[in-house]
Subunit: 357 residues, 2 copies
């Protein structure tokens, strides 16, 4: 089984954006703050996926995508905590409908109703609802709800601890993922995303967060930002600062995805980062939509790059494509088990890996 | 000849910091704002270099370092434009003394007296002084004088154009280099530096700056931040945005240095980025000071990594180690020519590459 741990609902039907536009207009007008409803039919959802994510799953040979709302649209800097909660609930409910319509293809991860200056503890309710009621297996955590001005405390600050306590209690990880940037210095997908990945890693390196939360797990997406390319720099900084070796730092707590869109980058990632800490991902349909004229294939068809890395053993591939994701997102096992027929070739493995949720 | 294009005076004698501490104390007290003088002797300068940069040049087999004030100490966010000017003048004068004491080993690059909210045009005077009076060959340009809050316009904004006009007139490049971070999210050398490199590249990719300034040249240090590792992402983003191919974008205007502290990272850089756009550098003595237990050598001994890349031809190495730096910092040619004795083995080449300054 091939699990893609990083997909966003970038193709959501227009009814979702219609609702969001109306919300933003109401915020500007200072008008009523009702949550209202999103007008999207099941057929619209099916159409939005059949020619995009589902088509690419089939074409590329991947099985299931860990699926969350569009990251750039989270825009936690818009409005206040109530606005963010309403928006997050609608986005998460739509992901839940996707997972209900295609239970074998998608497993849900939620957007959190973060808001600048509002303690992350305010997100616990929505996280718990998504995990316990909607069957989601993780969350996306934005280290910069200000959208490019970085006004929140570092992820290692006790400010975030109440949310981490709930994550550990629910046994769900967080992908560290910023949203759009309202700072003109930072292009979202070309700078802000990668900077956040790099920033989060260095925060984790310099603090003892995982002593306080040994079971807390983060996925740093986009191949870990700049980190694997600068692995020697980080090894050296850790040594100079008397911090643990990077292998020890990340072992049970930090994982990188494979959203790196060329072969040389994937080769570096797989050479440098321990295989147990890498999760397959493509982020399709996402930041880069085009076809690489040098290969004739989509830039974000990351499985093709991995397939070309001859040094990977079959055991490595199984970790990368499946086992690591099941370990990092353990609630997925029950979801996948429930969605598989008894005759499925993976059923025995899935059952073996399942755990109470 | 081997030119290291990225070295900072991180080992400056304590008299410099004594002056800076007094300045900051005076700023806090709201007291007099005299420039005063820095109490550092020539012997102190010699001692500060003999056991550090000069020793490493000898041990590693490099010849000359393009040398600038300590980047993390620029701290443009401290005080106002006058404070920044006084501090920059002292720092640059000290670099000038270094270059005077060791003209064969160091060529100067200046710190600019930037200050948050103050237009970069205010730096033109100090840039011109350093280039025309002190013989410096370039400058370090901080895209974020706020120190981690990114409140200045992007580097492609017309805000920066008066400074660029002077750079082009003087025929000097800028290394894009932030200073220390006062934002607790960003570790300086582990996040802020690399983020700035990535950010600047994406700014350049999305604008037509080099149509306005065809002769403007930037060095993006630290191996280009996250960029080479994510080269496919950038190629794809450029294509999706109908921007020029990356090779065309960078050809005459953007250069990466080799401050990447492990072999796999250097291999990626040399495989991905055109050789004409890479300048040798180590940033010693800088961000990472230790010895890599896996190799027994300093992390920042980047020449060793390059020496291990068998695919480089002799012509490639000459570009990487010397010719590219002479092309990007053309004023260096006259400096090096002046500092070589007639019998020097490189003299004929240096003379051939020299140009009027």
């Amino acid at each position: 089984m091939i699990i893609d741990c990083h997909g966003h609902y970038t193709t959501a039907p227009k009814g979702l954006q219609v609702w969001r536009d109306a919300q933003i207009a109401a915020l500007k007008a200072g008008g009523a703050r009702s949550k209202g409803s999103v007008d999207v039919s099941d057929d619209e959802i099916r159409r939005s996926l059949e020619g995009a994510q589902l088509k690419f799953q089939r074409e590329r040979g991947t099985d299931v995508t860990i699926f969350s709302p569009r990251a750039s649209a989270m825009a936690h800097h818009v409005g206040d905590a109530t606005a963010s909660l309403h928006w997050s609930e609608h986005c998460n409910d739509l992901i839940h409908r996707v997972c209900g319509l295609y239970p074998e293809n998608f497993v849900g991860v939620c957007q959190l109703p973060q808001s600048p200056g509002v303690p992350p503890a305010a997100c616990i309710g929505e996280l718990a609802r998504c995990v316990t009621e909607l069957g989601f297996v993780g969350c996306n955590l934005n280290p910069d709800p200000s959208g490019g001005y970085w006004t929140a405390p570092p992820l290692t600050d006790r400010y975030w601890y109440p949310l981490y306590e709930k994550m550990v209690e629910l046994d769900v990880p967080a992908m560290v993922h910023v949203s759009s940037s309202c700072n003109p210095n930072f292009h979202a997908t070309g700078a802000h995303y990668l900077n956040a990945d790099t920033t989060a890693f260095m925060q984790f390196l310099t603090a003892d967060l995982f002593k306080d939360f040994p079971a807390l797990r983060f996925i740093i997406p986009h191949g870990g930002g700049a980190v694997p390319y600068h692995w020697g720099r980080y090894r050296g900084l850790a040594q100079d600062m008397k911090r643990p070796p990077l292998g020890d730092l990340i072992r049970h707590n930090i994982f990188f995805d494979t959203c790196v869109y060329h072969l040389a980058g994937i080769e570096l990632l797989l050479k440098i980062v321990p295989i147990d800490n890498i999760l397959f991902a493509s982020e399709m349909v996402g930041a880069v939509k085009g076809i690489d004229p040098e290969t004739g294939h989509h830039f974000d068809d990351t499985k093709r790059y991995i397939d070309q890395v001859a040094s990977l053993t079959d055991a490595d591939r199984k970790k990368l494509f499946e086992d690591n994701a099941r370990r990092v997102y353990p609630r997925m096992n029950a979801r996948l088990k429930a969605s598989r027929s008894p005759g499925d070739e993976n059923a025995s493995h899935v059952a073996g890996g399942a755990r109470a949720v």
